[in-house]
Symmetry: D2
Subunit: 135 residues, 4 copies
């Protein structure tokens, strides 16, 4: 069961070629992940960052088709694997049935000094629930 995050392509996202400038996709991606932690895991970024962080460690990205100003994108965030202090997500952005971007990305839970920390049990349970849940 993926978490879905709608994002219209706005003026600010687009480049002189009239399509999304790829660093703006990563701002959208971060917004989607921030909403996922808030709404699906019950652990908002503004709470996490009081004492910790969840930086991205690695990403594999495919840009499969361009997106244009006004396109109604939907980001689907799915949990692929949950480690002790990491989580592997697969996020896909589509406009209707058309895939625009697919990312496999690994996030790590770290303390303020950057040392990996285990996920809180409640958060880990919520991640596993998202992963295992029905479509």
């Amino acid at each position: 069961m993926a978490f879905t995050f709608p994002q219209k392509v706005l003026f600010k996202h687009c480049d002189p070629a009239g399509i999304v400038f790829y660093p703006r996709y990563f701002e959208m991606l971060n917004d989607a992940v921030e909403a996922f932690f808030d709404a699906a895991l019950g652990w908002p970024f503004e709470v996490i960052h009081a004492e910790a962080a969840v930086p991205t460690a690695s990403m594999q990205v495919q840009f499969t088709a361009p997106s244009r100003h006004g396109d109604a994108l939907v980001f689907e965030v799915a949990v692929q694997a949950v480690g002790r202090s990491s989580v592997t997500l697969r996020t896909q952005a589509r406009c209707g049935a058309d895939l625009r971007m697919a990312v496999d990305h690994v996030l790590v839970h770290v303390d303020r000094d950057g040392r990996p920390q285990p996920w809180p049990a409640r958060v880990r349970g919520a991640m596993e629930g998202v992963m295992d849940g029905p479509e």
Copy 2:
């Protein structure tokens, strides 16, 4: 022989955790690639984009250590492979000897309708010269 692009970590790049927010790395990466096309290939983005584009098709990214405000990063852009209308780059950002980010990325030369176009012979030659040149 890699093309080098210096980039101090500025206030605008950093997040509430005091480290570079990863979408900002991709703005730096795009600046490094834009400078590479201008200075190393003699084909500035503002000339290319009059009638074409060089969008990124895919990326594999490792964030190996955080970067902090004031760090003097150096981006090294190296050509890995040159195709008919694509090029594979490996870009690494370091602070001194410390690797911060490594990206394998593929760019494609397309016309205004997004159809792949062969590299101009002069540009292709410059890419191959960068690839084969001495360190």
Copy 3:
């Protein structure tokens, strides 16, 4: 009658001091204006920019209090005056009753060569309706 646009302060908006980095306010402001043209005037930016533009000519900005990650901001966009090809807006961003930013800004309708163009009659009427409407 002001048009309202909600915007939670997200991770991407905040700087190492933990507050909104002021260039990000202008991205929010542009989003608020883009939503205003779409929802209140029935003239979406993606339609406008097929053949014209509405660049900002001037702004007077007061940042009255800092905004923090997680704050639930509301932008209120009000029409102050409608000219032949310009419009003066006053936009205020609040968190609850607390004013965070106030902007008086002038936008101009221009063609692709940057020459001022009169507002379409329907758009002008919608602007005047917003200006004159009940609170």
Copy 4:
């Protein structure tokens, strides 16, 4: 005597209309001010932000002409007035002789709780030196 900061207009700065998207001007402006504090005042932002901040309190902005991809802008930062804990700057961005943007902006030196703090004597002296110096 103004402090000058060169900034080529890059791909990332430009919108679908092919001109600088105005929130990007404020990122350039912040970079110019960050360079001014570092090079002209000897007080780098990364040092300031260890225990304080210099947020912008107000701005008056005129966008006098559009800037295009590849334009070689020069930002001139001039000190207009120095208060106990504030400074009024006038920054103008030009391409050759052509004025593109002019900003009168007020910055305030605050501690971590946002309370105004007097400028360090050395910094105040440097500001006054910049203001009074020969062209």
